[in-house]
Symmetry: C2
Subunit: 351 residues, 2 copies
């Protein structure tokens, strides 16, 4: 199969700018690797609220369900963030999309690039050689549990709930990935306080014997937040629940020196979505300064997923070539830098 | 008043070793500053479970309630951590104590010591001059909400609940502290997803006009986990809920280069408790290698609280003197180091 239906959701802020570089890349890949991509564009987030009142219009959901993969830009707008009363929010669009598509595992690879190591706030000897793969559960936990705000505003609650079925599939996925890597899996939780964390620990203990070559260890989330910075090389594969994964994976993004480089895949039984881990970065919108690489590397993850591995590898090489030749945006080099679209074109040309 | 009743709770792991250095210090302070400390020792944590079956025996609670201040060591034991079925856990002792004493605010000052700056995993230019004060809500949220595990083990939940009264007092405290410092307060939350976070944001917005000289800003916890490492100097006073505070404050502890230096105060209307932020560090137990400084600086916070400010200042100077003269434990200097009790005595002698 070399015909793929891609749902394209540029979203808010710098989303449209970086997504158009990813499309540029896919056009070149189509030619070079004899495949065909059909793009269906959909509205999501603040953009969708402004135009339709709904952060995830039915039409967008339909396009995504029928796609072979979803290419996602970014979401979020400060207008909503500082208004605790807003009933409709851009993030609801992304959360609902994750839920509806059953994207239960968010996968974030983290590594360092030799030529960028000095960009990191961490010392070279701490991060050199760090290589972590994070599996964050994405469709349960406190994000999706019942929420309530008392109409008088006297109190509010959010429920964090996990059932066995929410945990088992992603746990297997993480164990299997560990088998392909350094055979070390760290479950991050707060099992000394939370019942849900104890359920995670119990299930991982049950599953562990099926993967006798993988060493499973546990770390409390507070300690993990420390160890990720003190000794990132301790980690190989990390498995964690939704909220802890949100915090820990963003924290871990500082290791490599630029969040503008980090891709992610969110996968389920039927669908998969690919997005940069950075957000909508509204301050940079329309300025042509956004780093397109995180989105472009998300395309590489998408190509792996679509089983066009040769294209994925070529694309990753082309990105490394751009980085090594300092053909990068201002976030990576303030002295000599190129625009979003110049960097996209440079990478496309190398393919 | 120069007579103080101190409840002393050494707890687990290295707790007893570091606490005995703090007592050594208090004995010297009593003499030098004409005050008298009466010490009542209590059991807590794993130690208390082994001896009484209860992680917080009634007697311990009574001693604490009647005290002018509680001096706390550490809590936790790996025997319980890896057993998801354990019904009684050391941590329950500390959590119950916080709740019973109404210690709603956990205060953690973070700063860098010139002579230790190179111990940090972060680069000098990132951390030099960083000075943060964290206010973590300590007796509500997901730690204390209803918890449930289905008897068949099919699912579990934890409820994060906040009411106005839980938030208002600590919010005022944080605004007031900001007024004494650089007049900048950052509320860390996840208001784009959680109802409880939106309640925090709303209340802070309501209170803000009473502190017109303080600049209030908001940051999502995932972004904060990143910014703390990328740019710790951005922060002055941080205010956050219980679970986020647990993660963020441990993460922030890496800034200064050693978690073995960081004290904390947990305060309520009537009582106050002082503890190092490091844990029970069971691997080091009984080896005489634990760093006593975090506990000793917690004593300094206690002396401030008891209004013996001159003694608190002198104690802090003595600690700085020890650090500058490299009279430290192995965690701070692997080439030339001293034992827990040598460091304690060196500091005591300087007073
Ligand atoms: C936008 C927001 C709801 C989202 C999340 O918290 O999951 C984002 O931070 C992410 O990590 O993808
Ligand atoms: C021991 C544990 C329950 C405790 C917490 O999570 O509050 C500790 O990590 C802390 O931060 O004081």
């Amino acid at each position: 199969n070399n015909y793929f239906k891609i749902a394209v959701l540029p979203g808010d802020g710098i989303g449209p700018e970086i997504i158009s570089e990813s499309i540029k890349i896919l056009d070149v890949i189509a030619e070079a690797f004899q495949c065909k991509f059909h793009f269906d564009y959909g509205l999501i987030g603040a953009e969708a609220i402004f135009k339709t009142g709904n952060p995830l219009p039915e039409e967008t959901l339909k396009i995504c369900k029928e796609s072979d993969a979803v290419l996602f830009g970014a979401i979020g707008d400060p207008i909503f963030d500082n208004n605790p009363e807003a009933k409709v929010r851009p993030e609801q669009g992304l959360l609902k999309l994750r839920k509806e598509l059953g994207l239960f595992a968010n996968i974030r690879p983290l590594k360092t690039y030799a030529s960028l190591i000095d960009k990191s706030p961490l010392k070279r000897e701490i991060i050199e050689g760090a290589d972590i793969q994070i599996f964050r559960e994405l469709v349960s936990g406190i994000y999706f549990g019942e929420k309530f705000t008392d109409p008088e505003g006297a109190y509010a609650y959010d429920i964090c709930k996990y059932s066995r079925e929410d945990i088992i599939p992603i746990a297997h996925m993480a164990f299997q990935e560990a088998q392909k890597r350094k055979k070390k899996l760290t479950l991050i939780d707060k099992a000394n306080v939370l019942d849900t964390s104890r359920l995670w620990r119990k299930i991982c203990q049950e599953i562990a014997p099926e993967y006798p070559d993988v060493q499973l260890d546990y770390m409390f989330v507070d300690n993990a937040a420390m160890q990720l910075i003190l000794n990132p090389k301790h980690f190989d594969v990390i498995l964690t629940e939704n909220m802890f994964g949100d915090i820990i994976s963003d924290e871990a993004s500082v290791i490599g020196g630029s969040i503008g480089l980090l891709p992610s895949a969110s996968v389920g039984e039927k669908n998969a979505l690919f997005e940069p881990i950075h957000g909508s970065y509204p301050q940079a919108k329309g300025k042509g300064i956004a780093n397109p690489i995180a989105s472009i590397l998300s395309v590489a993850m998408m190509l792996d997923h679509l089983n066009v591995k040769a294209a994925a590898d070529k694309l990753r090489q082309s990105v490394e070539h751009a980085i090594e030749n300092k053909y990068v945006t201002i976030d990576l080099n303030t002295k000599q830098y190129y625009s979003t679209s110049e960097v996209g074109s440079f990478i496309a040309d190398h393919i």
